[in-house]
């Protein structure tokens, strides 16, 4: 493999890994803040226990997110120096703002929250966790502003061989942004919800102790799961429609749709022959893709071969078709996990009125812990793979962005290094989460 391929693998591995931890941080910070709010409002100790118990799991997860986050900021320069030169003018700005505006708030007030239970007044302590939630979600906003620009560049001018910022406000009002940030935000909410649901279900299955505590947590999780899964799908639907206008090639690849057609069908599954640009078999649902793209059965959805011809004319000769198989199945896995979460959320909410939900449902919810992680990872694979061959859509190809100073051997070394380290840390992280989840809402011993 050459430097480019290795650098892409490294970005994929480290980013998907980092994003195992981010969505839970985004959503669970809010849930813990709400639990502590309930405690401060009602004075009921059970809410304090909830905030502390889920807060402890939040912290274990947060540590992993912070530790792997530094890699994210460094690797643009390390592996993608030519990209950094080309976009630094625009892309660097939101990253710097993210650190200044979000990371400082998040990390400083988290320190206060952890160590401040006895040092701060109740209300002040509550404020610190809300600031953590705010800081975390602000950081998501700023990094998504940067990513939205890669998906849909705005507010720039090409000058001195690079994209220079012309309008900062245009970055903030990028039409791509509202879809992307709300999809990520609700993805975080739904991740936290299924985390709380899954662990509560697991505890209710294995013991009677703390049954009250985990039933209450279960209800919180169920309500949040329904809200989150409905909203993440609604904004995802909006995002799909926006995609047909902003980057139809990505949508066509996600649907393995080679030819432009009206009343376009949706493929539940398909055998994809990328080389000959056709599908060998498929399971179609008539007109559904047109409905999804336009909310109406008639509507022309562009296909990849036509877009390829269009882009060749616009950008010069080249292959403009993304890796179709990976994009297609990422999309299907994401949607399937979303639908499964919606179904589970409905079941959980329906049964959360009972004293104890039936064991089969509890078992399903434990397994359901995996669903948001599948959805989040495949969602990003769809977003990033579907944009290929572009690094910045229409402006810079991925192959042009890679560092010149690094050798394939060096990048291979770091790919192996990060993968080994991350693998080992994952074992430790899951083991610790399980240990603390199992312990229940007790004050930890020394």
């Amino acid at each position: 493999m050459d430097t480019l391929e290795l650098a892409r693998w490294q970005f994929g591995i480290t980013t998907v890994y980092h994003f195992f931890f981010v969505p839970l941080t985004l959503g669970l910070s809010i849930l813990v803040a709400l639990m502590e709010t309930a405690y401060v409002r009602t004075g009921n100790e059970v809410y304090k226990k909830m905030a502390k118990y889920w807060g402890k799991l939040f912290l274990i997860n947060f540590a992993m997110g912070v530790a792997t986050g530094i890699v994210q900021e460094f690797q643009f320069g390390m592996n993608w120096s030519e990209y950094s030169r080309f976009v630094g003018d625009i892309f660097g700005a939101p990253l710097a703002v993210e650190a200044l505006l979000a990371f400082f708030i998040e990390s400083t007030f988290l320190g206060l929250w952890i160590f401040g239970w006895d040092k701060l007044s109740k209300k002040l302590h509550l404020t610190t966790i809300w600031l953590v939630a705010l800081g975390s979600n602000l950081s998501a906003l700023w990094i998504i502003i940067a990513n939205a620009w890669m998906q849909h560049p705005v507010g720039y001018v090409l000058r001195n061989g690079r994209a220079e910022m012309q309008d900062f406000f245009a970055l903030l009002t990028n039409p791509q942004l509202p879809y992307e940030i709300s999809h990520v935000f609700f993805g975080g909410v739904v991740t936290a919800a299924f985390f709380v649901l899954g662990i509560s279900a697991w505890q209710l299955l294995r013991q009677k102790e703390f049954a009250d505590f985990f039933q209450r947590s279960f209800r919180w999780g169920a309500v949040t799961a329904l809200l989150g899964s409905v909203l993440v799908m609604l904004v995802g639907h909006g995002q799909g429609q926006w995609l047909e206008r902003s980057n139809p090639m990505k949508l066509a690849a996600a649907e393995a749709n080679w030819k432009t057609k009206d009343r376009c069908e949706f493929l539940i599954a398909a055998g994809i022959d990328e080389k000959n640009q056709k599908n060998t078999w498929s399971l179609p649902v008539g007109s559904l893709l047109s409905i999804l793209a336009y909310n109406s059965p008639s509507g022309v959805v562009k296909g990849m071969t036509d877009l390829q011809a269009e882009y060749t004319q616009k950008y010069g000769p080249g292959d403009y078709i993304p890796p179709v198989t990976a994009t297609f199945w990422s999309f299907r896995l994401m949607v399937a996990s979303g639908l499964a979460m919606l179904a589970l959320a409905l079941l959980a909410l329906w049964r959360s009125r009972n004293l104890i939900a039936p064991r089969w449902l509890l078992g399903l919810l434990v397994a359901g812990l995996a669903l948001p992680y599948i959805g989040n990872s495949t969602g990003w694979m769809l977003a990033e793979l579907g944009r290929q061959p572009w690094l910045v859509f229409g402006l810079m190809k991925t192959s042009a962005g890679v560092s010149l100073a690094t050798t394939a051997g060096e990048v291979l070394f770091t790919v192996i290094g990060f993968t080994a380290l991350y693998g080992a840390l994952m074992v430790v992280d899951v083991w610790l989460l399980r240990k603390y989840a199992a312990q229940g809402p007790v004050e930890a011993a020394d």
């Binding site: 912290l59 274990i60 540590a63 912070v66 530790a67 530094i70 890699v71 900021e73 460094f74 643009f76 320069g77 592996n79 120096s81 030169r85 630094g88 003018d89 892309f91 660097g92 700005a93 990253l95 710097a96 703002v97 650190a99 200044l100 505006l101 990371f103 400082f104 708030i105 990390s107 400083t108 007030f109 988290l110 320190g111 206060l112 952890i114 160590f115 401040g116 239970w117 006895d118 701060l120 690079r162 220079e164 910022m165 012309q166 560092s403 010149l404 100073a405 690094t406 060096e410 070394f413 770091t414 290094g417 380290l421 840390l425 430790v428 610790l432 240990k435 603390y436 011993a445 020394d446």
Partner: protein, 335 residues
Amino acid sequence: MDLNTLWFILVTVLFCGFFVLEGFDYGVGMLVPLLGRDDRERRVIINSIGPVWDGNEVWLLTAGGAIFAAFPHWYATLFSGFYLALFLVLVGLIVRAVGLEFRSKHTSPAWRSAWDWLICVGSLLPALIFGVAVGNLLLGVPIDAKMTYVGGFWNLLNPFALIVGVTFVLLFLLHGALFLGLRTEGALQKRATSTALGLWLPTVIAAVALLVVAFFQTPLFAGGLAGWLLAGAAAVALVASGLLARARPGLAFTLTALTIILVTVATFRALFPNVMISTLDVKHSLTIYNASSSPYTLKVMTIVALTLVPVVLAYQGWTYWIFRKRLTTTSKLEY
């Protein structure tokens, strides 16, 4: 003053903040297994930076982000050029961050001891490598006409850069030991102070070696009186910190902080207006002009930075105020 110069100063300020704050964090981190005799002592040592280390580390992220935003070519050349060195920094920072949060979450002595040593090594690596990087920035590095570093990894490990690396490690250890002396009581405080005193002479010797070699090999003293004044003041502050360590520990800590600031300022002053000097051809050097963002971006970022930095300073300062009370092995330890 143009915006390029202003941003060069801002980056200098961010690195000052980073080295002063993470300086004692790294020092304390290295001292965890060396100074703590039992589990409670080690936890006290960790808790002395517990509430603040994460916020301190954001200074590094902000400095990185600021270089990216204001001087993209600097960011691109530096980060891709010092590739393996930065990989080692990242490995260090990752195990350190995870270690600080995870070590007390399980009671097995083997688990805790393993993390204590990982915290130690994870603090040593960035301290050493950032010193080596600073040494190489002062020496200049081979950069070609495409602004690409062409020196490889082993080139970075030259004698001068290693002297700077060792000096950074010693200085941060001293800075951390003084910090620990201020934050603890009893036996631990005594041990921290005597450790600081023991570290003082080696640090001074390393610093003198650094200055002598720097005089012959780098622009640290070039360009008039300023270089001499900064280096001299740094040396005086360092010497004084050791002399005052017992009588005036607060002042001694302030003096090591001052030493770090002066070293950082002296380094950046020596580079100015370059940010990375090319040893292949001066024309290939990166400067605050040929490496910078557009004037528009610099303007936007200036407004953002001048608005936000004071706010950050205010609430971070407040955190230190909240946790100003000394820690003892009998005080209630979070986690």
